[in-house]
């Protein structure tokens, strides 16, 4: 059985289960991985399936704990209070408001390198602000999704680059400037493109009516404590390594959640955890399925076949291949895309400055978080703004995403030129 046939069979099984039988995406991925394993002559390679899913074990912990933290912020009234504070501070000037919002959304992504974290933490905080100021639900979602992806690419922490660097033994040093060249124009243009026309400055009195309830009068400053601790620890572990302990993102979120119990409205942490698990379960199962899917693709040789096929393209097709395959593969996982395709692509362009190449590739791979069915950034952004159909959010991401693709590809093409400038 050829690798191509196995791959197509796995994709077909997945499509059949997910689209025709309407099984959850994660479960469909698991079964299509199993089918691929059987067809590839590996039998029901249970330990391979399980092993594959472990590739995302740490990611799963981050997602669940981030979701718990987010639910705690909501139920303790902290989210409402912060929203109120933001509204009061920034509602006067459009551009300042939009850029601040963009920076806020990007911030957790910059620190954690994960777009999901960005969407779920500050993304969720600014969403009500934007919607109150007249930005539509879907455009708000798009702004948050794009901000999260830009945050993921922006320095100081870009996990995509780290993954690619790990594959070619390139230390994670000297990336701040190249990454900023890519991210800053995108951040400014995206926030203005999506928001400038629709955001309306409203009267303070008018706004007061729609302001969420601030619990500051009841609980005082300690309301902000969980947020400050979480942001401080996230920031500290990368900006002041060695001084602030690196307890890992899941532990930071849980610590914040624990503090949240005592800092605002009383809540039952067990029930809050249940809600968080209920909400994050689909994505958790998708990650389990994707892990199994990749493992079987590698085991049966389908992964190698795909990578080799892309690499054997002539230069023009190679760039076309990067521009299409990396975001497309992001449908499976942006991190997977960086690791499986990014590394060979860097190697295929070995004559260029690898720092620039990998920075640009990370921008392209980051778009994978917008690619259905996983579309991590899109799905969570839709959830945060309360939009049931995440495709409507993705539609507004299209232009900014294309712009990001163009910038990423331009940096790749003009790497030798930029190399001299830096």
């Amino acid at each position: 059985m050829s690798e191509a046939a196995i791959f197509l069979f796995m994709i077909a099984t997945f499509a059949l289960l997910a689209m025709v039988l309407k099984l959850p995406i994660g479960v469909s991925l698991v079964f299509s991985a199993l089918a691929g394993s059987l067809l590839g002559g590996e039998g029901a390679a249970l330990h391979h399936l399980v092993e594959g899913s472990f590739g995302y074990f740490d990611t799963i912990l981050i997602i669940v704990t981030a979701m718990i933290f987010m639910k705690v912020l909501q139920e303790s009234g902290i989210l409402d209070t912060v929203t109120a504070l933001l509204l009061k501070s920034f509602y006067r000037r459009k551009v300042a408001l939009l850029l601040t919002v963009m920076a806020l959304v990007m911030f957790p992504g910059m620190i954690t390198g994960s777009s999901t974290t960005a969407v779920l933490s500050t993304g969720a905080l600014v969403a009500p602000v934007l919607m109150k100021m007249g930005l539509s639900r879907v455009k708000t979602g798009a702004l948050i999704a794009m901000g999260a992806i830009l945050g993921m690419i922006a320095p100081p922490v870009n996990i995509l680059v780290m993954i690619m660097g790990g594959g070619v033994d390139m230390p994670y040093v000297g990336f701040t400037f190249p990454l900023l060249i890519i991210v800053i124009p995108l951040a400014v243009s995206t926030s203005l493109w999506l928001g400038y026309k629709n955001i309306k400055i409203i009267e303070y009195n008018q706004m007061k009516e729609v302001l969420p309830e601030s619990f500051f009068k009841n609980y005082g400053f300690r309301l902000y404590l969980p947020l400050i601790i979480v942001i401080g620890l996230l920031l500290g572990q990368s900006l002041m390594p060695g001084i602030i302990p690196d307890i890992g993102i899941p532990a930071i979120f849980l610590l914040g959640s624990f503090l949240g119990i005592f800092c605002g409205k009383p809540l039952n942490i067990l029930k809050t955890t249940q809600k968080a698990i209920e909400e994050s379960m689909p994505i958790l199962c998708i990650l389990v399925g994707v892990g199994m899917f990749i493992q079987i693709m590698t085991l049966t040789g389908a992964r190698g076949w795909i990578v080799t096929s892309f690499l054997s393209f002539p230069p023009l097709l190679l760039y076309l291949g990067i521009a299409t395959s990396m975001p497309l593969f992001g449908a499976v996982s942006a991190f997977g895309s960086a690791s499986i395709l990014g590394v060979p692509f860097i190697l295929a362009m070995i004559d260029k400055n690898a720092i620039l190449t990998s920075s640009a590739l990370s921008a392209v791979a980051g778009l994978g978080d917008l690619m259905p069915p996983t579309a991590l950034a899109g799905i969570f952004a839709a959830q945060v703004v309360g939009e049931a159909n995440y495709f409507r959010v993705l539609r507004f991401c299209l232009m900014p995403a294309l712009f990001e693709l163009v910038i990423g590809m331009a940096v790749l093409l003009f790497a030798p030129l930029l190399d001299k400038l830096i």
Partner: protein, 47 residues
């Protein structure tokens, strides 16, 4: 840190089991069961 993370895995695994018994939709419960495999294996320090 190792112990802290072990406790986190334990806490989440117990919640997954609780959720498994709370949920009524079949495929959602299958999802939970699939995710649980990993949590058990890490909890028992096997993988």
């Amino acid at each position: 840190m190792f112990i802290v993370y072990h406790l986190i895995v334990f806490y989440l695994a117990s919640h997954f089991i609780w959720y498994l018994f709370r949920e009524n939709e079949f495929w959602k419960r299958v999802s939970v069961a699939l995710v649980l495999i990993m949590f058990f294996l890490r909890l028992f320090l096997i993988k």
